[in-house]
């Protein structure tokens, strides 16, 4: 399937898919799955590590989309779907962990992100979700684009370090160092803001 023509930030095909959702046509799910199935499955699989669970996350994504559109009309359908899959996969990883299952990048991400958690002595208050997102956005905005891209590919898309390095044309060791420094910087930043995570 072609990627479609760009028209005002939304591809024509995406517009068509969204129209199908608005018309409550079940073809909407088929079209979404054809176009974005691979993309969403890759995200889910990287996080949860088990194909069956990943496929369930993707099916749940289509279900969420069906329930959300209308009234929603996402302007960037791919990113919108990817975000749902990504977050459903993180939630599922939590369940899998309790059952001592799973084995994707998710486990590694968690242990890496532990290094970003401020020490209790620096904490003044617990940030709510919106506040935490705002802080993360501010932190990322202040980073070099290259470093920000590495952080997002690793901790949003759960890409293995080697894949991040390849995508950014960087040496793998350099990428690991960049990520290490960013984790340290994020921890200092959260400590300075005095929030608990």
């Amino acid at each position: 399937m072609s990627s479609g023509q760009v028209k005002g930030g939304i591809t024509v095909e995406d517009e068509e898919i969204i129209r199908l959702y608005w018309n409550r046509s079940e073809d909407a799910v088929t079209a979404t799955s054809e176009k974005y199935g691979a993309y969403c499955t890759a995200i889910a699989l990287r996080i949860v590590g088990l194909l069956q669970d990943a496929e369930e996350c993707v099916s749940d994504t289509w279900m969420r989309a069906w329930n959300a559109i209308p009234p929603e009309r996402p302007s960037r359908l791919r990113l919108w779907l990817g975000r749902i899959t990504r977050n459903l996969s993180v939630d599922r990883l939590k369940g899998l962990r309790a059952q001592k299952r799973g084995g994707g990048q998710g486990e590694l991400l968690l242990s890496e992100l532990e290094q970003c958690i401020p020490a209790a002595s620096h904490v003044e208050s617990e940030a709510d979700d919106a506040e935490l997102t705002r802080l993360l956005n501010d932190f990322l905005r202040a980073q070099r684009p290259e470093h920000r891209a590495a952080f997002i590919l690793r901790y949003y898309y759960a890409e293995p370090v080697a894949a991040v390095a390849k995508k950014l044309s960087m040496n793998e060791n350099t990428t690991a160092t960049v990520l290490f420094r960013m984790r340290k910087a994020l921890r200092s930043y959260l400590e300075r803001e005095g929030v608990s995570v």
């Binding site: 960037r76 990113l79 990817g82 975000r83 990504r86 977050n87 993180v90 939630d91 939590k94 998710g106 991400l109 968690l110 242990s111 992100l113 532990e114 970003c116 958690i117 209790a120 979700d129 935490l132 997102t133 993360l136 956005n137 501010d138 990322l140 905005r141 202040a142 980073q143 070099r144 684009p145 290259e146 920000r148 891209a149 952080f151 997002i152 590919l153 901790y155 949003y156 898309y157 995508k167 950014l168 044309s169 960087m170 930043y189 300075r192 608990s196 995570v197």
Partner: protein, 396 residues
């Protein structure tokens, strides 16, 4: 402690960051954010020089308030680093220092630099030269106009080559001048809008500079007041650098008198008459710079951050500096100023300039002096900037 919450929260970050990360391609350069900035200005410059049309806005992207996002700052400082060696930090005389608790406005104006990465506008330069010449009673003479910028086709090739290598395109590639030589007075107009006047020392009355800079400033003001092209000039003595002979050097700047720190930042950075060198011999000449940068293309009034917020950014490494070595801490900062950086930027935007006591790596320090290094943090709120500058330890 909860890595889960963090992992979940990362799932809610801005779409724009995710899109950028997906499409990010690393450029082969030691300073990637510079290259990104150069890439952007290249497009802008190309449009201006090729078509000769009215210039586009500084950026195609807009912030929430409809103000154009400001392009990344480009350091174009050449060799060396910006710093002064002073006998003590208190001896440094700033251009526009901020006092503790000084009130600042919510917004400050930002202007597009119309000469940035564009062919020299020789007509505009000549007009500016005659304005300054008229202050000295010179109204006729033969001017020499030079455009040193390569022909369009060649320029296109050069820029393409630079772009392929991932290096920033320098504004210095687009150079030209207009000159006028008369008996005893020489005028030189640069592309930036600055005009240099060179004259024999006897033309001016200056005292025992550089050792008595304030007296010198006042006597210059008296003898030059009708030749400054300013309505209500005030003299500002800045600097205090101790040279290798032990002399203390200052720069004397005249600018429109202003009541507020924000207005002073603008006047003392973008519209000055400056004296930087005081000849010891009668045979040497005096040079005066008329630095009136074009403020006709205002991009808007941009919300600014406080000095404390800027200091936090400095400590975070979000600054522009040419000082080698590690970043200073807040405790090392001796002076905070509010200035514009002109003309080596695509837009004239305000900065907090922090002077911090430093020990620059690899540079021998004189006995009995301290070195103050300059660190610039954009004063405009970061949401109005395409990128916050990021210090990466790079040194010229």
């Amino acid at each position: 402690m909860n890595a889960w919450r963090l992992l979940r929260a990362i799932g809610e970050i801005d779409d724009a960051f995710i899109e950028q990360a997906e499409s990010y391609r690393r450029r082969r350069t030691a300073v990637p954010w510079l290259a990104a900035a150069a890439c952007f200005v290249l497009v802008l410059g190309a449009a201006v020089w090729r078509a000769g049309l009215s210039a586009p806005p500084a950026s195609s992207s807009e912030s929430a308030l409809g103000l154009p996002l400001l392009p990344s700052a480009v350091t174009d400082t050449g060799m060396g680093f910006e710093g002064v060696e002073v006998r003590s930090a208190e001896d440094y005389r700033p251009l526009n220092a901020l006092e503790d608790g000084q009130e600042l406005p919510d917004t400050m104006p930002v202007y597009r630099n119309p000469s940035w990465l564009s062919r020299p506008d020789l007509d505009a330069m000549e007009a500016r030269l005659w304005e300054v010449a008229a202050l000295f009673g010179v109204t006729e003479g033969e001017v020499v106009r030079t455009d040193n910028t390569p022909p369009d086709e060649e320029l296109e090739q050069i820029i393409k080559g630079i772009e392929e290598k991932g290096f920033p395109v320098s504004d210095q590639m687009f150079s030209g001048s207009v000159k006028l030589e008369t008996d005893g007075l020489n005028f030189y107009a640069a592309k930036s809008g600055a005009v240099r006047v060179t004259m024999k020392p006897g033309t001016l009355t200056y005292g025992d500079a550089p050792f008595a800079p304030d007296e010198t400033a006042q006597s210059l003001l008296a003898s030059m007041s009708d030749r400054l092209g300013l309505q209500d000039p005030e003299a500002v003595v800045t600097g205090g650098n101790v040279d290798r002979d032990g002399n203390v050097n200052y720069e004397i700047v005249f600018a429109e008198r202003s009541e507020t720190a924000a207005a002073r930042a603008e006047e003392r950075s973008l519209n000055t008459v400056g004296f930087g060198y005081f000849p010891k011999e009668e045979s040497e000449s005096v040079t005066v710079w008329y630095n009136a940068y074009d403020r006709s293309e205002k991009l808007g009034d941009y919300p600014i951050i406080t000095p404390d917020e800027a200091l936090a950014l400095l400590e975070n490494g979000n600054c522009i500096t040419t000082v080698p070595g590690s970043l200073p801490s807040a405790d090392d900062v001796r002076v905070v100023e509010l200035v514009y950086r002109a003309p080596n930027e695509e837009v004239y935007q305000p900065y907090y300039r922090f002077w911090a006591e430093v020990k620059p790596e690899g540079i021998a320090q004189q006995e009995g002096v301290v070195t103050l290094g300059a660190y610039y943090v954009p004063a405009v709120e970061s949401q109005y900037l395409e990128e916050l500058p990021v210090w990466d330890g790079h040194f010229n």
